[in-house]
Each structure stands twice: as C-alpha cells, then as structure tokens.
C-alpha cells in the first residue's frame, strides 16, 4: 500500500510536470529569457562572495576554493529541491481560497499535485550555477581524495536536497493551520541555503548547535563538507558526523510526511 502510494505519487508528479513543461515550451522565447534571468540573478548572488575575497584571503579561516565548495554544494542541493518542490509555498493560498478542495477530489496524492503545480523549469538556473561553482571549487581545492571523501560528495548533495525537501513539505503542512505562513517557510529554506553558503566558523556556536539539533540544516553540507575538507567540527562533534547526513535526511522526510498527513486531516476547507 505504501509503495503503491509512492508510485502513484511519482507517476502523477511526472504527469503534471510533463504537462507544465510542454505548456512552458509553447512560449520558448519567454522561457529562455526567464531561465537566463534566473541564472543571472544567482550568478550575481555569488559575485558578492567574489567581491569579499578581493579584500580578504580567508573567511572564517576558509579560503576562496573552500567557500565556493560550500556555496556550490548548498546551492546545488537547494536548487534540486527548489526545482522539484518550489511550488509548495502556494499551499497556504490554496487553503485560504478553498482551491485545495479541487486537489482532494482527484485520485492522486495531494502532495504530488501541489509539488508539481505550475512546475517552473526556469529554476534549473540555480542548479546550473551550483554545479558550475562546485566544479570550479573541485578543480582548485587542495584535498586528499580518499574513497570516503569521494563517496560523501554525491551522498551529501542528495541528503541535502532531501533535508530541504522535508523543510518544504513541513512548511507547507504548517500552512494548513497558519495559511499565511509562507514567509516563515522561506526564512528557513532560502535563509538556510544562504547561511550554508558560508563557513560555520563565521557564525556563533549557539547558531551552529541550533541548526544541528533543532533544525538539522548543518547536515545539508556543513558537516559532510568539513569531513571532505579535513576541518575540525566547530561544536566538538566527532569527525564522522558528516556520514550521518542520509540518516538525518530520512528522519526529516519521515517527520515531514507525518506533518503533511496531519495537515491534510486538519484541513477545514472554506465555507462554500
């Protein structure tokens, strides 16, 4: 049952996404302009860091290649999730205006429908930027690439994307109760990815603890990256903690799934 539910969800997701992509491609020029615009904005975002390094040699003890590595991993993980789940912040509006009803009467999981709703392919811009920066940093990093470090890189990107996805889903679930809470969600998702682009050493240990034990964003890229870069953990956790990222991701997704289910059950619809 659970598996067929997952299959149904993925199938519906692919159907709806496919339809939106086709409909986007009907206006190809407009899509290209939007995608380029998206890429330009994310490129400008990184320019800020480039500018900083024209004045200093290191940020919190991390050199340009290392910071770029953090930036690239955070941006790639977030970009993947933003592409796949970015439409979920619309849940609050659907709850407010009652259009959530129309999703509930269809024979496919609601989560797949809201995630795929108005799928915006232009968001690949951020992934392209993230992967490009990651590639550049890999070429310039001074790292001893042992097998565990090589393995940890893809694991980190996927776990990071999954942790962000859990945040998107949990944030959307919260909107069943507080339908105007999309900004709260953005603070954690967009805010979180910006924070993770910088080394943990520039933040207070209290903040690093909070994003380890309360909202485990530190597992998106900080902890795995520290292991790859051969850096000590800023809050004294063992060096291998980076390998816990997939476990943390699974736990986050399970919790987010429960929250989503509870949100759906609590859904009260509107008057008419």
């Amino acid at each position: 049952m659970a598996e067929s539910q997952l299959y149904q969800g993925l199938r519906a997701y692919a159907l709806i996404v496919g339809m939106w992509v086709r409909s986007t491609m009907a206006y190809r020029t407009s899509f290209v302009i939007m995608a380029l615009g998206n890429l330009a904005i994310t490129a400008l975002d990184f320019a800020v860091i480039g500018l900083m390094f024209s004045h200093v040699d290191a940020l919190g003890g991390f050199d340009l290649a290392e910071v770029t590595f953090l930036y690239g991993t955070s941006s790639t993980a977030f970009g993947l999730t933003d592409l796949a789940f970015g439409s979920m912040e619309r849940v609050g509006r659907r709850v407010r205006d009652g259009t959530m009803d129309t999703l509930l009467v269809r024979p496919v999981p609601v989560l797949a429908q809201v995630a795929a709703d108005r799928f915006a392919l232009r968001r690949v811009g951020r992934i392209i930027q993230g992967v490009a920066l990651l590639g550049w940093s890999l070429a310039h990093l001074d790292v001893n690439w042992t097998w565990d470090r090589v393995l940890l890189l893809p694991v980190m990107l996927l776990s990071g994307a999954a942790i962000f996805a859990a945040l998107f889903v949990a944030g959307a679930a919260f909107q069943f109760w507080a339908s105007d809470a999309a900004e709260v969600q953005s603070a954690f998702t967009y805010g979180g990815t910006t924070m993770l682009q910088f080394p943990p050493t520039v933040f207070t240990t209290e903040l690093v603890r909070a994003v380890t034990f309360v909202l485990p964003l530190a597992f998106v890229n900080w902890f795995p990256a520290l292991h790859i870069l051969g850096r000590p953990n800023p809050i004294g956790l063992p060096d291998g903690i980076g390998f816990a990222a997939p476990l943390v991701a699974v736990a986050c997704c399970a919790l987010a799934g429960l929250a989503w289910g509870a949100g759906l059950r609590a859904y009260r619809s509107t008057g008419s």
């Binding site: 409909s23 496919v108 619809s269 008057g271 008419s272």
Partner: protein, 324 residues
C-alpha cells in the same frame, strides 16, 4: 456490488463540528463550536438523482465535502460504494465526479483540451472510453469551439460546461454537483440539465446536487432533501415537499373585462385583482385542471397561466410550520 446498490450512499448520524476561535478582547480568544452537520442520516440507492437543498450555511457543502473525502467527519458513519471516503479518498476519487459551481477543478492556465488529456492520464481512462466520452461531452455541452481556450478565458457558463465534462470523462458511478447551474444563462441551464438527465439514464449514475433553482429539482430529481442547521428537515418527493410546506401555485387568469373577485371555485381563493387580471392561489399538490374548468364555466376567460412556487418560499413556509 449488488449489496451496495440499495444504499450506494449511506450516512448514519454523521456530524461535522468546527471549532471557531473568536477574539474576545485584547489577546483573549474564545473558542466555540459550530455544528455544521448535526447528525444526518440517509441512504441513496444507485442511480437515483437527489436534490440537496437548504438555505446558505445549512450544511449542504459540508455534507458534500465529507462525501468526497475532502473533510473528515467528526462523528457518525459514512460510506459511498462501500468505501469510507476520508480513509480511502483516492480510491473513491476514481469512481466519483465532482463539480463545484463556485470554483473550477480544471487547470486555470491550460486550454480545456490539455486539462482533459491530463484528466485522462490521471484517471487512467482507456483510450476508446475517453474518445467516446469526450466526443459526447463536446457535442452535448457544445464545447467544440472552446477546446483550445485556456480555462481562465472562459465565461462562467462555458467553464461550468467544461467542468461538468471533466467530471464525467472517467464514467463515475456517483456525481456530486454543488450549484451546477449557478450564474448560467437560460440556454446553458437547459443544456446542462438535458445532459445530466441523459448521463443518469444511460449510465445509471447516482447524482447528488445542491441548488437554489427549483427548476433543476423539478427536471432532474426524483427525490428532494431539505437541510437546515445541519439536520435533514425533509426527505421525499418534490410534490410531498409542496404538501408539507403548504406551498401554493398561482393561477393567473385574464378575463374579458374588470369583474369583482372570482368566487365559488372549490380549492382555490382569489388573492389579487388588477383590472381584468386575477390571481387565484391553490395547493401546489392539487391539479390545476378542475380549477381552470370551474373558472372557465362561470367567467369569460381570455387567457391563463400557472405559476410555480418559489423554492425559498416553500422552505420558509415549512420552517414557519415547524416552529409555529
């Protein structure tokens, strides 16, 4: 399956209670309960068309939302085709069609044709069924020129027809229509009613519809349920509703000349006189023929017409009856 047919839709003491928080001064919130549906029980056999009527806020939409699995009931037992809607929402969704008069289930930015193609794949409708059903909908609901138009550019009547087609492409066993003719022009209303009647007779589709339009009920429904304050106030035929509500039809007669109010017609009384025209009220359940005959026998009759009672009046009278 056959076991389900007598009680295809089955509600047993179903309740829906909403907790509403209200501001009661600075920082203080008062919680109080609203019983939107307060112990409703009924059964609908397969293939029946039921009109579900009542004033705004009576609990009609809430009932439909529980039947479709959108809302979880607070109490009682609810089954549609043997399925508990809130537990197996997606399984039931394959077998039901839903039309909300107030909002579309179609994709706002997509042309109708794309919406339908997506519906086909979501519901896994076999190719031949899909083609057959789409052709029929396009023909009967007059959609041919609308297929390439994005939903947001359709008028309310066009969108409603598009929505009804979308709800029927997968041959649902049960169809819920929440105000399907609201805001439609006369021609669209006639089309929609004809189409629904045909679907019901051909496919034995069970239909539950809410409406404010008495003509919808007269032309479509074998059975009427009146809901108010979350309870079933009446469940039976339309004629029976008229009898219970003591509603009256009106015979409007045009005489040759101005005359004193018509008298001596059994079962009717004159309620208004305006020049040569007179209005006679008689019970809605009674036949107009003997009254017309009696008037024609004694008075110089030029023309006549019969006016049906208004659904709101019928219900209002019914309430007055109960509380009085």
């Amino acid at each position: 399956m056959a076991a389900n047919d007598a009680a295809f839709i089955e509600l047993d003491a179903v309740e829906k209670v909403f907790t509403v928080r209200r501001r009661a001064g600075w920082m203080r919130r008062e919680r109080h309960e609203v019983r939107a549906v307060d112990g409703i029980s009924f059964q609908v056999p397969r293939g029946e068309v039921v009109g579900y009527i009542g004033p705004n806020g009576a609990g009609k939409s809430t009932t439909i939302k529980m039947l479709t699995g959108i809302l979880v009931p607070s109490g009682g037992r609810l089954r549609v085709a043997g399925i508990d809607p809130s537990k197996e929402r997606t399984r039931l969704a394959r077998r039901m069609g839903v039309v909300f008069g107030q909002r579309t289930t179609l994709w706002w930015d997509l042309p109708l044709r794309d919406s339908y193609a997506l519906v086909r794949r979501m519901y896994r409708i076999p190719d031949d069924r899909y083609r057959h059903n789409l052709e029929r909908c396009v023909e009967l609901l007059d959609l041919a020129e609308l297929l390439e138009v994005p939903v947001r550019q359709l008028s309310l009547g066009q969108r409603m027809r598009g929505d009804i087609a979308a709800a029927l492409l997968h041959d649902p066993d049960v169809l819920y229509l929440d105000e399907p003719t609201i805001g439609l022009d006369v021609i669209s209303k006639v089309k929609v009613r004809e189409f629904l009647r045909e679907v019901n007779t051909e496919q034995n589709t069970t239909v539950l519809l809410t409406t404010h339009d008495l003509t919808d009920i007269e032309q479509l429904c074998q059975r009427v349920m009146v809901i108010d304050h979350g309870r079933v106030m009446y469940d039976g035929s339309l004629a029976g509703l008229h009898a219970v509500g003591e509603s009256e039809r009106t015979l409007v007669v045009d005489l040759e000349r101005e005359l004193p109010p018509i008298e001596g017609v059994p079962g009717a009384r004159t309620v208004r006189v305006d020049g040569a025209r007179q209005w006679l009220a008689f019970p809605a359940a009674a036949s107009a023929a003997p009254i017309v005959a009696a008037v024609a026998a004694a008075y110089p009759l030029v023309d006549l017409s019969v006016r049906e009672p208004d659904i709101e009046d019928v219900i209002a009278k019914m309430y007055a009856e109960r509380s009085g």
